[in-house]
């Protein structure tokens, strides 16, 4: 694959910021075990919002899983 940017020259005082995505996942995020998603949230790998939107897992501020809301999201949403 060809890089989007090559041979970029930067001068003194310039700043360059490089952001890379995380690794790709494997499998359907909606089937990842809710406990594992909650752990990812606790350890800061996944945000609370991403847990809800991408994994269909509702985790509250204290890290506890809302089982009812999670079941609701996973049965209906995103399919």
């Amino acid at each position: 694959m060809v890089s989007k940017i090559t041979n970029l020259s930067i001068g003194q005082g310039h700043k360059m910021r490089l952001e890379t995505p995380g690794g790709g996942g494997f499998g359907d995020p909606l089937t990842r075990h809710p406990e594992r998603v909650a752990r990812d949230v606790r350890l800061g790998y996944v945000t609370q919002a991403s847990a809800r939107n991408d994994y269909g897992v509702v985790v509250d501020e204290d890290g506890a899983i809302d089982a009812l809301a999670t079941a609701g999201l996973r049965s209906g949403a995103g399919r």
């Binding site: 494997f26 606790r42 350890l43 800061g44 790998y45």
Partner: protein
């Protein structure tokens, strides 16, 4: 108290070995008691009771596996880390190495979970400039949060602190003001050396071990307080030197290979005094087989070691290769139908099947018992009156013989052969595969079981010969008694050799030198002299790797007398020796300074262990018993090893028994007692 009386205590995974030695009268006593896993201090105290009431002991030197086991079994304490913003994941990213090359899932778990690693705003640049001051209130808030999440020890790890520790020192003080115990440390204290991952890992592991090692030492000191013991108490470090318990509490990470290091130190001394400068030490205990190389009389030191995948400790350590094959290693037939020995071990509790304490799976020791090589009526360790041969046979037949379709004796011989091959493999790894010629080395087998495999070690590897120490079972305890005191300190300098301010460098060398000397001095007065050694890690500009360059200077009258020319000559000599060429014209850099203070202890003349005039061949002859050799029973001469006089020659096959070990000499070899009482196992002269 008698200051010349030194007690060495080696607490291994299976047995606790003790040696009490009086340097003046040359009197000594030894003892071996079972270790108590989880309560190592109990075995420690039982062992002391077996050799002394306590009053006469001048100092106790202890080799411990408490730190090693906490690391290998991941049983350290919960650590909180406060780090520079953006560097939260250094412990997790490591050096982008992987345990397994292929697969979708990583399985590395850092010793500090991500939610216990917090970032604060601060920035120290590589040249030592503070770009962003640390905010103490932010550090206090982070420490409080980590404490609330259950952290029991705290590590402050900012980047580039080897160049300027100011921010880290401030943060350390702020964190201490809100922390609930003494276990707060910072990376510039543990390892002020360049390279973020190694410094982070070493500092975090230090904190991981600190609560456990500290409470273990406190329990020991409390228990020692109940004895009339008034002497000093020391701990063996991974580099084979000894440190005070105060230093051990500050740097518990330096105990990671404490026990095995003591054994290597002793084996090196034994080989040297017997006249051999090149040796391969082989420690066969209950759970593992540890191999190390002594070349030209010196143990090899590595600058860092990986205790387990991703657990890197950067501090000088004796290079030891360990495989999971010991007397307690369990034999089994794997799913592919192959016989395996280890790494799972039955330890001392429940122990081998022949101990009759609940383990019904066969161990290496069971195989030796069934083959008649270990005397079932006189087991070592002294806890059991006799070994249960029938139980050993049952275990071997059930778990090895029947699955392989062979009888119990064939299976027992196969178990020993597999263990021999694994040990030979480990020795090959450290000798032949590193360019050492095994025919120039003598094997020094020790530990409870090493001597049973001495013949196989000589034959399979092609070693010159093997030398079984007079008391193989207490070799590690002997190492505790003879080890020198030692303290190491590293400091990254990042200096160019051209235009070097030599006076400023001298001042730094003097400062570090005096600091390390003070640590050894403070440890107590049992050394004859303190030697300082100065070493630089150096390279050509642009290189990543460094070479260790010892500079021939010493600290006298407030100066080391170092010169740029001396540094350059020393560097070029080492570089040429390693790479067979120089890169003339390229600038040379000094990356780090390493200073070691060694408090020399008087050399122990090992001839005190030699057999006395009362020893005689007649007295040593114990009769015969059938021993299984190459598929047939052979009536074999049994000897009482300690009663053999100097110069005695033992023809094969032979079994030599002594309280702490059994030696087996195979046909084709013979045994000879040297002037120190060591048993030399060599090929029969043609």
């Amino acid at each position: 108290m008698n200051p010349s009386n030194i007690l060495g205590v080696d607490v291994g995974g299976t047995f606790t070995d003790l040696l009490l030695f009086d340097a003046e009268t040359k009197a000594f006593r030894t003892a071996k008691v079972p270790s108590q896993r989880g309560d190592e201090s109990a075995g420690f105290m039982q062992g002391i009771a077996a050799v002394s009431a306590g009053r006469e002991i001048g100092s106790i030197v202890h080799g411990t596996t408490v730190g090693t086991n906490s690391l290998l079994e991941r049983r350290g304490h919960k650590v909180g880390v406060i780090t520079t913003r953006g560097f939260r994941d250094v412990l997790e990213m490591r050096r982008r190495d992987r345990r397994r090359t292929w697969g979708l899932w990583g399985d590395f778990t850092p010793i500090v979970d991500r939610d216990l690693r917090m970032e604060v705003n601060e920035r120290t640049l590589a040249d030592g400039t503070i770009r962003c001051e640390v905010d103490e209130a932010e550090v206090r808030a982070a420490a409080t949060a980590l404490r609330e999440r259950g952290a029991e020890a705290l590590a402050v790890i900012f980047i580039n602190t080897y160049a300027n520790p100011a921010n880290e020192q401030k943060a350390l003080a702020a964190a201490r003001s809100v922390w609930h115990n003494e276990f707060v440390s910072a990376s510039h204290q543990v390892l002020p050396e360049i390279r973020e991952f190694e410094r982070s890992s070493t500092t975090a592991l230090n904190s991981y071990l600190q609560p456990g090692v500290s409470s273990y030492l406190a329990r020991l000191e409390q228990a020692l307080g109940t004895l009339p013991f008034e002497g000093q108490f020391y701990i063996v470090q991974s580099n084979g030197g000894v440190m005070s318990t105060a230093t051990a509490r500050r740097f518990p990470v330096r105990t990671a290979l404490s026990g095995p290091a003591a054994g290597v130190i002793a084996a090196a001394a034994i080989a040297r005094q017997a006249g051999y400068d090149n040796a391969i030490t082989c420690d066969l205990g209950g759970t593992s087989f540890d191999v190390s190389v002594i070349a030209n009389g010196r143990a090899s030191l590595a600058a860092q070691a990986t205790i387990d995948f991703g657990l890197v400790i950067r501090t000088p350590m004796i290079e030891i290769t360990t495989i999971g094959a010991g007397g307690g290693s369990i034999a089994s037939v794997d799913r592919g139908g192959l016989l395996q020995v280890g790494p799972e071990s039955a330890g001392s509790v429940p122990g081998p099947a022949c101990y009759g304490q609940g383990n019904e799976r066969p161990t290496l020791t069971d195989a030796h018992v069934v083959l008649g090589r270990i005397n079932a009526e006189r087991p070592i360790g002294g806890k059991l009156a006799r070994l249960d041969v029938e139980a050993a046979k049952r275990a071997i037949l059930t778990h090895a013989g029947r699955p392989l379709g062979i009888d119990v004796l064939e299976a027992a011989e196969a178990i020993v052969r597999v263990a021999d091959a694994r040990m030979a493999g480990a020795i090959r790894l450290v000798s032949i595969e590193r360019g050492h010629d095994p025919t120039k080395f003598v094997g020094v087998p020790f530990g409870g079981g090493g001597a049973l495999h001495v013949s196989a070690i000589v034959k399979e590897i092609g070693l010159q010969m093997a030398l079984v120490p007079r008391f193989p079972g207490v070799t590690s305890a002997l190492g505790c008694v003879i080890a020198d005191l030692r303290h190491d300190q590293v400091q990254t300098l990042n200096l160019s050799l051209d235009g070097l301010d030599i006076e400023a460098l001298d001042r730094r060398m003097v400062a570090v030198g005096e600091e390390v000397r003070a640590v050894v001095n403070a440890a107590g007065a049992m050394v004859s002299q303190i030697d300082l050694s100065f070493e630089f890690d150096m390279h050509y500009v642009g290189q990543t790797h460094t070479v260790a360059v010892q500079v021939p200077v010493t600290l006298q009258g407030g100066t080391t007398g170092i010169s740029s020319a001396a540094i350059r000559t020393a560097f070029e000599t080492v570089y040429a020796a390693s790479f067979s060429r120089l890169l003339s014209g390229l600038p040379v850099r000094i990356v780090s300074l390493r200073v070691a203070a060694t408090g020399r202890r008087p050399e122990l003349d090992l001839s005190v262990f030699a057999p006395g005039p009362e020893a005689s061949v007649e007295k040593a002859r114990l009769g015969t018993r059938p021993v299984r050799i190459d598929g047939a029973w052979c009536e074999t001469q049994i000897w009482s090893r300690l009663d053999l006089p100097v110069g005695a020659i033992v023809e094969a096959p032979a079994i030599l028994e002594q309280p702490d070990a059994t030696i087996y000499i195979e046909p084709g070899l013979r045994g000879r007692v040297d002037r120190l009482g060591n048993l030399i196992v060599e090929r029969v002269p043609q």
